[in-house]
């Protein structure tokens, strides 16, 4: 397949990127797999214990004194959410929204529904926000990812595109959208987005991690397409800077196999296996 001119030039850019530039890109990606992910089977941790801190007790007293204090309900809901006491958090967020149906209040409620795996309720709440604030970028992104989790690919893509259109420099929505395209084998679209992310100067740790992972994803797509030589060089460079990136080790191994460099590939697979063995069990089904 002929290389798309844009991709060819961008790939060349990556290959010629100085070590310093790559290092900057990867600065916040030193821990294994620290990039934000759209991996299948996310497994939220088990419910944590009670969070009866003095702050919580004070908020409970406030609410007991004034059950219609929307701000207190919101504040308590947020603390309980952070403590992963989602059911009670939902009750307080719902009450807060009844009292004062603000966008932020609804957004907190939707996030709490999502965390409690009440996906239908989360979806409905996000849509309620969009009914009054159709350009609410964070809602569009969260709803896009939620739709994907619920198996609604087209809706997911639609919401993420809307998120990008509300703010053209929307790295994270682009990153999520690229992951969907890659997952479904739409490599042209995925590569296009990943390459654009690479060219945007990151403004947060999350964006930096997304940029670094986009480099990996571009190389992984090239490996899947059988274009291993360039991909191998990018991955080798990435691994110099992030030695414990398990996926990069595995994908470089695949590239090396395609290049008939079997012994080097074997070493990459062994390194990858070693890194995988260090993972804790987080779910019965993985």
């Amino acid at each position: 397949m002929p290389f798309h001119p844009f991709r060819r030039s961008c790939f060349k850019l990556i290959l010629t990127m100085t070590a310093t530039a790559l290092l900057l890109t990867l600065a916040n990606c030193r821990e294994k797999d620290s990039a934000p992910t759209r991996e299948p089977l996310p497994a939220p941790p088990a419910t944590a214990g009670a969070a009866e801190t003095p702050q919580v007790e004070a908020l409970r007293r406030t609410i007991a004194g004034n059950p219609d204090d929307a701000r207190a309900h919101q504040a308590l809901g947020r603390i309980l959410s952070e403590a992963e006491q989602h059911q009670e958090a939902i009750q307080h967020f719902e009450r807060a929204v009844q009292l004062s149906p603000t966008t932020n209040g609804l957004f907190n409620l939707a996030i709490a529904f999502e965390a409690a795996m009440h996906l239908n309720e989360a979806q409905a709440t996000f849509k309620r926000i969009l009914a009054t604030s159709p350009d609410h970028e964070q809602t569009l992104r969260r709803l896009g990812n939620l739709e994907l989790e619920m198996g609604h690919k087209e809706a997911a893509i639609d919401y993420l595109w809307q998120a990008i259109q509300t703010r053209p420099r929307n790295v994270m929505a682009s990153y999520d959208l690229a992951a969907i395209y890659k997952f479904y084998g739409e490599y042209e679209e995925a590569t296009d987005l990943y390459q654009t992310i690479v060219r945007i100067e990151p403004r947060s740790a999350e964006e930096q991690a997304a940029r670094a992972d986009s480099l990996y994803q571009i190389a992984a797509i090239e490996v899947a397409r059988g274009k291993s030589e360039q991909a191998e060089q990018v991955l080798a460079r990435l691994l110099e800077l992030v030695p414990d990136h398990p996926k990069a080790h595995y994908t470089r191994g695949q590239a090396l196999m395609q290049l008939d460099r079997t012994e080097e590939a074997q070493r990459e697979f062994e390194r990858h296996a070693l890194l995988l063995r260090q993972r804790p069990v987080t779910s019965g089904m993985e």
Binding site: M1, A43, F183, L276, M285
Partner: protein, 586 residues
């Protein structure tokens, strides 16, 4: 600073992608009309009808209770099914495995059932007279002529001891498990007969899942189950498999005298840390003339046991890149199958996986290694399904291999989760379009439109009408017998092989069919799908070819046999010549 790409611009790239896909279609299809010639006059109209009731099959599955009564993983895996011509009357009979519940004594579960195909669309329950109503908590079944006496025997994997029934040739079977020495240990899942050492008899690979006891594994919903491995996406679930002790797979060598020897250690397939095996297929992936074993493992890396040709095996899963997904992740392997779906002459692999993940298609690169091509080949649209039984078959008779996948979630409680998946799901038929799979969308009255929690799946032309039918087991319910009632303009050929020097079942034989300027490869593999066993006859769809120009048969013994000018639309029986000097396989 670059602006992010607009949707309109990407739409343009969509068009480029379509062009590329069209090019792929032209390059990869083995049939002549895909290379620019005209398609056959008629187009296939796919239709499957569930004929279970009219066939007289009353099997009802029991798998550890229903709904929230499912307290352990044992209640979520389900049962297999086998097509077996036990009475040698030329049509495929049906053997259905059944389970039990934990409040019953071992050996007091629901009996497995054998249904004789009466040849008129109906089946008769002959379990009692055949003596094959094993009442263990059954999971899997393999069919093979272990004593080379010309009739097929049955091997059943159980939660308790496994069972080997020898076919007596008079409509009855004898339990020879003890004398044969194949009771096994651990919770048996899929198994496969194959000739590991080329000595002309069938050896046996038994996949084992978990070293399971209700005394040691927490029951769902109890305080003891407050562990990470008893959760699924934050929801309390049955515990495992991760966190539980995996059971060791077993390799038995057939001694040729009615007994088997456990050669797991000496053959090199013993694992210090076993791997929760669920799917097994025996196939010659590197085409070096001996059969390798591919094992789909749940939640850990898959295994590819390369046959070294000296009675030993080496796990080449990692170096062959068939152990993990493209991103180097272990997946939850359930079923597996092996076939040359893209017509390049090399055997590819498919592995079915858990929901929120892709079923994996590993495309062979000349047998040296494999590339995970799942996304680009078309597995994405079914990522929310949880998949089990699987097979590459030419359902539409057009000369390339399509793909059937049986689906159903492990947990009934996902129905309340809003996770975008459900306990009962549609099974999926993918139509091969030039090496890519397109999901078939069945009309509402099609048998494929129903939703069940499917598990085992086996494939056969049970009515001998020249197309591939399907039987599927479902959790806590009746089975589904999908008769292929498609309108298919293409021709077909079925090849029934009988070994003489090779093992009688000819497991390991390869057949290359040439017709209309193109060729197709089929292999008489061992095992495949999930805990199930399919028609041993090799099925070829021929499209509009009206004659088979050449049939090349590569027998496991090394002999090559060539048959020219074979008429189509028939079941061709081929016996391995005894007096033909051995010719090396290519």
């Amino acid at each position: 600073m670059s602006a992010l790409p607009s949707r309109q611009r990407t739409s343009g790239i969509h068009a480029a992608g379509r062009t590329f896909a069209a090019l792929l279609l032209l390059m990869a299809s083995p049939m002549p009309w895909a290379r620019g010639q005209d398609k056959p006059a008629g187009h296939p109209k796919i239709m499957f009808r569930d004929v279970l009731s009219e066939a007289g099959i009353t099997y009802h599955n029991v798998s550890g209770g229903t709904g929230n009564d499912k307290a352990w993983l044992t209640a979520t895996i389900g049962c297999g099914v086998a097509w077996i011509d036990y009475d040698l009357d030329g049509d495929m009979d049906l053997y259905l495995i059944n389970g039990s519940t934990h409040d019953r004594q071992p050996g007091k579960g629901e009996p497995n059932l054998l249904y004789r195909n009466d040849g008129d669309g109906r089946f008769t329950d002959v379990t009692a007279q055949a003596g094959v109503g094993d009442r263990s908590w059954g999971f899997g079944v393999a069919v093979g002529d272990v004593d080379n006496d010309g009739d097929p025997d049955l091997y059943i994997t159980n939660l308790e001891a496994n069972v080997l029934f020898r076919n007596n040739g008079d409509g009855t079977f004898s339990d020879i498990t003890a004398s044969a020495g194949v009771a096994g240990t651990g919770w048996g899942s899929s198994s496969a007969f194959f000739d590991m050492d080329g000595d002309g008899d069938l050896d046996l690979y038994v996949g084992n899942y978990i070293d399971f006891s209700t005394l040691s594994v927490p029951r769902k919903g109890t305080p003891e189950a407050d562990k990470p491995y008893c959760q699924f996406m934050g929801i309390p679930s049955v515990c495992g498999p991760r966190g539980l002790t995996p059971a060791q797979d077993i390799l038995y060598r057939n001694n040729g005298d009615g007994t088997f020897t456990d050669v797991t250690r000496e053959a090199g397939v013993f694992l210090e840390i076993p791997r929760y095996a669920l799917g097994v297929v025996a196939t010659d992936l590197d085409m070096d003339g001996d059969m390798d074993i591919y094992v789909a493992n749940d939640s850990v890396s898959n295994s590819l046991w390369k046959n070294n040709g000296d009675g030993t095996f080496t796990d080449t899963g990692m170096i062959s890149m068939t152990a993990l997904s493209a991103d180097g992740k272990p997946q939850a392997g359930m079923g597996t199958d092996a076939a040359d779906f893209d017509g390049d002459g090399w055997i590819d692999l498919v592995v079915t996986n858990f929901s929120h993940d892709l079923n994996t298609i590993y495309k062979s690169v000349e047998g040296r290694f494999f590339l995970d091509q799942s996304s680009v080949i078309g597995m994405g649209p079914t990522a929310m399904s949880l998949s089990w039984g699987v097979s590459f078959q030419d359902f539409d008779r057009d000369g390339d291999l399509d793909l059937f996948i049986a689906n159903g979630h492990t947990y009934p409680w996902v129905d309340e989760s809003g996770m975008g998946t459900s306990f009962r799901q549609r099974d999926h038929l993918f139509i091969n379009q030039g090496g890519r799979f397109k999901l078939f969308s069945p009309p509402v009255d099609d048998g494929l439109a129903q939703v069940n929690s499917s598990r085992g799946a086996a494939f056969a032309d049970f009515d001998n009408d020249g197309d591939v039918d399907i039987v599927v087991t479902t959790m806590d319910d009746s089975a589904v017998l999908l008769r292929n009632d498609s309108t298919l303009p293409g021709h077909w050929l079925m090849v029934q092989l009988t070994g003489t020097v090779s093992n009688r079942d000819a497991v390991g034989a390869r057949v290359i069919l040439s017709a209309g300027g193109s060729s197709q490869l089929r292999e008489r593999k061992g095992g495949g799908s999930f805990v199930s066993s399919s028609d041993p006859r090799l099925y070829f769809g021929l499209g509009d070819a009206v004659q088979v120009d050449k049939l090349e048969i590569f027998w496991p013994s090394g002999q090559k046999q060539v048959i020219h000018d074979v008429p189509v639309d028939q079941i061709l029986k081929v016996t391995e010549p005894r007096d033909n000097p051995a010719a090396p396989s290519p």
